[in-house]
Subunit: 572 residues, 2 copies
């Protein structure tokens, strides 16, 4: 049923000249987003500012070469930056000089892991994360990111990456708070929020078209940044600044991390690989939907993996798709992956020619950008839906979200996955089993508790409303034995399998035991409405030869056959 996906680099082989101007405009939009986001997410990840710019070049080029989505912007992003910071904070014996090496190693090895998983066609692992887990994780992470930025907003040093450590650090440093950093933060925050709220309408009113107004409004952060830098320079305020960046292209180097240091990082590498992939894949799917394209999970996994390997060997940190940049790229009219490729080229030019312009940028203003970017991630709409629709899923959302704050990002993912699998097993472990009777005068058979139906003495017809597998077969067959005790006159048990999409080997063995146990008591077991694929496998297993009763095409056919007392009719 899946449509064919675009071949690798297909966009380049079939490039149409008409697309060039669109991709060019989109690439300029992208670079306007990338510069402040790169600096800000480097700050969030606990990395030197240039790392964020480096992480915007090679990974974007690699994604353009290997990825399938035209509009996806792969580079610095909030979640992997936060997870990087959490890992670094968790390694107590680490010297600050090693932070960059650890971040690069996280990118490199989580990238290699993704390439391996994608090559082995393990893209389905994305399916282990339910929406409640992802929703709770993103929400909890957003709150944690907001907490991590409070020290930067207040101009005090920040320690640790857990919620408790951050709050303790702020409390300990409360007497060192000067007026300058909070003032710049508050000014930047207000300016950014005002831009988000009113700039678009203002631009529209002064005559701009819809799309340019949209894009300019979204690109406000870079304008506000410039204003903040100018204000700080003119006032000579006592603030922590970004400082002089090393000029030149990203360095090419294998991260100097010993194998022995890698072992304790493995759970984090796995979690970053998984979360980063889910995040990117969801954004790619959303963008593809509009274009009626299909995204191949395994190819995306490989492309994102290669992008992270590239980030790891060029002085970057773990990267992922950014929703805000990808949406802006799409809105700006990106037609092919060339938009992302060109943006990487522009970033390289910025590094080569103009790295000096960032020196005066205050960290407080960058922190304000992070805050404004992250606030929309605190999205409780799924929680509200789940609360109404399925309370247990709401609790998983809450547990995962609080888990991020209390246990850390990696353990929170594990907790969420474990809880949602447990919930799924619990949910399907006691399936609905309906006892059927005949709707008078018809060939229809319905639940005797919901309809007025005629029962046939000596026959117990049961419809199981769930696939039979290891988690529910004991319950189902136990229920049957329970009903039999109340109906000692039963001669035949008929299982109606219209809703059974599969029978696993545990359930098959249970079915064999049921068949033999019933036969020992003189009760025959019959099946009806068995689906094609299930029938094929039951026949292949030899179970149908053991079956004391017969397989019937329909419930009605079975009832007719069993009424005659001769079950040999209608046998397939």
């Amino acid at each position: 049923m899946t449509g064919s996906t675009q071949a690798m680099l297909g966009w380049l082989r079939h490039y149409r000249r008409a697309d060039l101007s669109h991709d060019l405009v989109a690439s300029v939009t992208l670079i306007i987003f990338l510069v402040p986001q790169g600096l800000a997410y480097a700050l969030l990840a606990g990395q030197p500012p240039q790392a964020g710019l480096y992480a915007s070049i090679a990974p974007a080029i690699c994604y353009a070469l290997f990825g399938s989505s035209a509009a996806l912007s792969v580079g610095p992003a909030a979640l992997p930056a936060l997870m990087t910071a959490a890992v670094i904070a968790g390694m107590a014996q680490l010297a600050p000089a090693q932070y960059a090496a650890v971040a690069a190693a996280l990118a490199l090895y989580s990238g290699l892991l993704r390439v391996a998983l994608g090559s082995l066609r393990f893209g389905f692992i994305a399916n282990f994360l339910s929406s409640s887990v992802v929703g709770g994780f993103v929400c909890g992470s957003a709150v944690l990111i907001l907490l991590t930025q409070i020290p930067n907003l207040l101009g005090v040093p920040s320690h640790g990456a857990s919620a408790v450590a951050i709050v303790e650090g702020i409390w300990a440093a409360r007497h060192g708070i000067d007026w300058a950093a909070p003032a710049v933060s508050a000014g930047t925050l207000l300016a950014l929020l005002a831009c988000r709220k009113w700039l678009r309408a203002l631009l529209r009113r002064i005559g701009l078209g819809e799309t340019p107004a949209d894009l300019l409004a979204k690109a406000a952060p870079i304008l506000v940044m410039v204003l903040a830098a100018v204000a700080v320079s003119l006032g000579a305020l006592p603030l922590r600044l970004v400082g002089q960046l090393p000029a030149g292209a990203p360095p090419l180097a294998w991260p100097p991390v010993a194998w022995s240091a890698l072992l304790p990082m493995l759970p984090a590498i796995g979690a970053i690989a998984l979360i980063g992939f889910i995040d990117s894949y969801s954004i790619a799917q959303m963008l593809a939907f509009k274009r009626r394209e299909n995204v191949d999970a395994n190819r995306e996994l490989i492309a994102l993996g290669v992008a992270n390997v590239a980030a790891g060997v060029t002085g970057g940190f773990p990267v992922s798709a950014s929703f805000s940049r990808s949406a802006a790229n799409e809105l700006a009219g990106a037609r092919t992956q060339l938009a992302g490729l060109l943006a990487a080229v522009w970033m390289l030019l910025v590094l080569l020619a103009a790295s000096g312009v960032f020196a005066k940028l205050p960290l407080a203003a960058l922190a304000a950008t992070i805050v404004v970017a992250v606030i929309p991630l605190v999205d409780l709409s799924l929680l509200r839906l789940a609360w109404r629709y399925e309370r247990a899923d709401a609790w998983i959302f809450i547990a995962t979200g609080l888990g991020v704050l209390a246990l850390g990002v990696v353990d929170a993912v594990m907790l969420g996955v474990t809880l949602s699998l447990a919930l799924f097993v619990w949910r399907t472990s006691q399936p609905h089993v309906a006892e059927l009777g005949r709707v008078a005068g018809s060939e229809h058979y319905r639940n005797r508790l919901r309809y007025t139906v005629q029962m046939q003495p000596g026959v117990l017809a049961l419809r199981v409303d769930e696939s039979l597998y290891f988690a529910n077969f004991r319950f189902v067959f136990g229920s049957i034995v329970g009903v039999l005790r109340e109906r000692p006159d039963t001669r035949s048990v008929l299982l109606v399998l219209s809703a059974v999409n599969a029978i696993d080997v545990s359930a098959l063995q249970g079915l064999r035991d049921l068949n033999h146990g019933l036969a020992a008591q003189g009760v025959s077991l019959h099946l009806a409405e068995v689906k094609g694929p299930v029938m094929d496998r039951l026949r292949h297993s030899g179970f149908l030869d053991e079956l004391s009763g017969a397989v019937h095409l329909s419930t009605h056919a079975a009832m007719l056959a069993l009424r005659g007392g001769d079950a040999a009719d209608f046998v397939i």
Copy 2:
């Protein structure tokens, strides 16, 4: 659907005098089994021999009071004894004097855990273990038990509980092997195997009835034991003997294990609680089946928990139901839990009056009993079935079995559970999605790839053959988008939900996104054949108000409505 279970102690309130003689005979059968098994499983668990006799008293009484199965014999058993030995071997810094305290603590805390789980109605956790995992685990454990008994059979000291440690220990001690222990082992083994094979037929031939012959044949171990003890005494062989047991009732004491030592034991406590429960519950279900009784998982969990707490505070070790004893009890005609209760009383009398008779019993003969009892557990029939029916399940069986030998019992359970959940998610993550067409002249709609059908232009009717949940909704909705790209003329998408038993909140959100995305492209989304419970929840969630199309009773009704171009008909 579940039948009512017998109320607690209901058997005592409604005790009929006619049952007394049956229960009395069964209790004598039980004690004949319990004495050699108690001594042998104490040896297996690395405990002093009296611990096995202690573990046959209070736990059996507690199960009789709280449990629901009349024939289940709870006491020393192979799997919990093996797991106890594995935990003790894994605690390197433990002095031999502490072994008994650790074993008692394992029983006590795994018992408390089971009581807690059962009270919270968590009996469904048994469902996490598929037959492949249990089958592989039992098989691997049986092989491991056989390995652990080789030193006892050869008369050399045994070290460790992992397969590698045992084999290394035997190799290191190979020069210390005397002729006496192997001779007694071989003699006992041959006698036991001969009894198993021919004794029943022999007894029948000399005129015994079927049931007495069966029971006597099964009780052969105690006769062989007595013969071995006599032979050893007469020959004054240089053998390790059971030795003098302390006379008197079991001691009552809380196991002296510090809280700090408990923490590393937690995974083992969890695994013993789970495996012991599954084991007992399966046996109880099998016995209940014959009597058309129903076993309540939560009540069994509590009863087994109380039995283990009792074992823990009376100098025992983890207990469980024994299949051989329970089957013999059933065969001997046990009518109520009084049989188990009386057997406990006889065991107490043995301890008070006759503990001296075991002193001359050679360990080699006990080891031979264990070997004979455990051989039938090496059961590969499920593996053969799975190999034919579902290869992946066969690999889980093999992985869990080898896991017991390579990783140990606790990690093997974790591995098996993780693999089977992963397999289940993988299996259901790419469900069958059929595109439907009309069987000419009928109201039936079938898969267009399997039948010759008529298609309706502009309408895409898809039947999803699986419940929609977090692991498969991305695939299903991705497929739909893929098909839409190939059919740009589609105006309506109809989802036929006849095989969808549930929609979780992740899939619901996916469905909302699909609905909005399709609407934005001028394609309406319709549903048909929605099951009652699914319909109720969809309506409650508010999704039906958002739905761009309508909900139709049947596929045919939907097709008629969509042909008219007016989807407003048939709306529920």
